[in-house]
Symmetry: C2
Subunit: 214 residues, 2 copies
DNA sequence: CGGGAAGTTGATATAACTCAAGGTAGGTGG
DNA sequence: CCACCTACCTTGAGTTATATCAACTTCCCG
């Protein structure tokens, strides 16, 4: 994990997400570690023992099969936390999708942070289980719809920024990039979304999307 | 949640799984609630506020889509715990697969159980994320192999008891019952497994299964 | 022993994948 | 500042794994 650590990088002024609960922010303020696009934050098998809060940018959490197939289990945007795991080692990889700043909170052996971490773990658990429904039982258009609705809800705007590539979206939804691309085109032709550019989608009919995604 | 509560039902003598950490077993012993096959333990939307330990039998946790499609996110066997959730209401259904006994631990507002619950939540999170890889990126035979390997590891025996139907297995793996059935046949023909009866599988080549399942 | 649910097997349909070619856009260096 | 270059994305044609529909079989359980 090679990070460019700096406590002097200025905070992104357009942090959309709420800050951590006050209890986590107390004490000395954590410095921000900077990760360039595509760089690794931690790897499967590495020693765990910290958790992370995204200050700006975006992070993907994933696993690999022996032959290179990849499943992204989660994306984390500004304001969100990740990295706490069962046991002493990481079961997943975490990578910066693009230039990303992260606050690292080390779990020192003494302090008991379970009270703060439990709600975060439970929220992650619910998220993962809801994602299971999408991957197990929904078709391509429903998967993309569910993904877009999720992004709208997390960003709180009708114009959604997608920090990740089509490949990332495919690996998150269990689809190929071609299928993701075709579904975007179909949604565009139906007038449900508008593609401002490759990484920016305007949601025109959120109700339709919502219905598709469940 | 209509349970036949009884503190007098004798514990199943063949509990394969380890008991809860001592800290959870301290204090007055919880009575066992009995649920007949197919009965509901809790429903989506119900008030949460307890967690559950399986004493005997098996439980399925699932969600439904509007049109009835079902995704089982987890099975819980004797010794395992479930039911803790983010927020005040359940996001999932829990049902007894067959005659099942459960200890219910109510979370009284005063006591802070986060220390005990965090490891359980994290384990569940890891499990769910690993299941995401199976549903997102593995084919039918790999999914069934992963499922069987998981059952072998949880039961600790080469002869695996499957308390659930083919339908349950399908809804857990994101497959139809026909596909599950065909894969069982293929594995049988390859000499990887032997079907003692519908609910009992002998694992003949665990290494082969293991390799398939990842 | 009979009946019904659960499971298996077969034939066909289809959604998504694969392979391939072309297009677009963003970034770099001349 | 423009043109090129390369990544990324889109679109098309053909293939394939799994779903669907249907018939048959087996296993329990009463």
């Amino acid at each position: 994990m090679q990070a460019y650590t700096s406590s002097r990088i200025s905070l992104s002024p357009h942090l959309a997400q709420p800050a951590l609960p006050a209890t986590l922010g107390s004490g000395p303020v954590q410095p921000i570690s900077f990760f360039p696009a595509g760089s690794e934050i931690y790897a499967q098998g590495e020693k765990a023992g910290a958790f992370y809060q995204v200050e700006f940018g975006a992070v993907r959490i994933y696993r690999l099969l022996a032959d290179g197939r990849r499943q992204i289990s989660a994306f984390h945007l500004a304001g969100e936390t990740f990295g706490f795991e069962a046991g002493a080692t990481h079961h997943f990889f975490a990578e910066a999708i693009n230039a990303t700043g992260v606050r690292v909170f080390r779990l020192n052996a003494g302090a008991d942070m379970s009270h703060q971490l439990l709600p975060l773990a439970l929220k992650g658990l619910t998220r993962a289980q809801e994602h299971l429904l999408v991957l197990g039982r929904q078709n391509a258009i429903e998967r993309v719809a569910a993904f877009l609705v999720d992004m709208v809800e997390r960003q709180g705007l009708r114009q959604v920024e997608l920090p990740m590539s089509r490949m990332d979206i495919g690996d998150y939804l269990g689809l190929t990039i071609e299928t993701v691309s075709r579904v975007f085109t179909r949604l565009k032709d139906k007038g449900v979304i508008r593609l401002l550019n490759l990484r920016s989608v305007e949601i025109l009919k959120q109700d339709v999307l919502q219905t598709m995604g469940e």
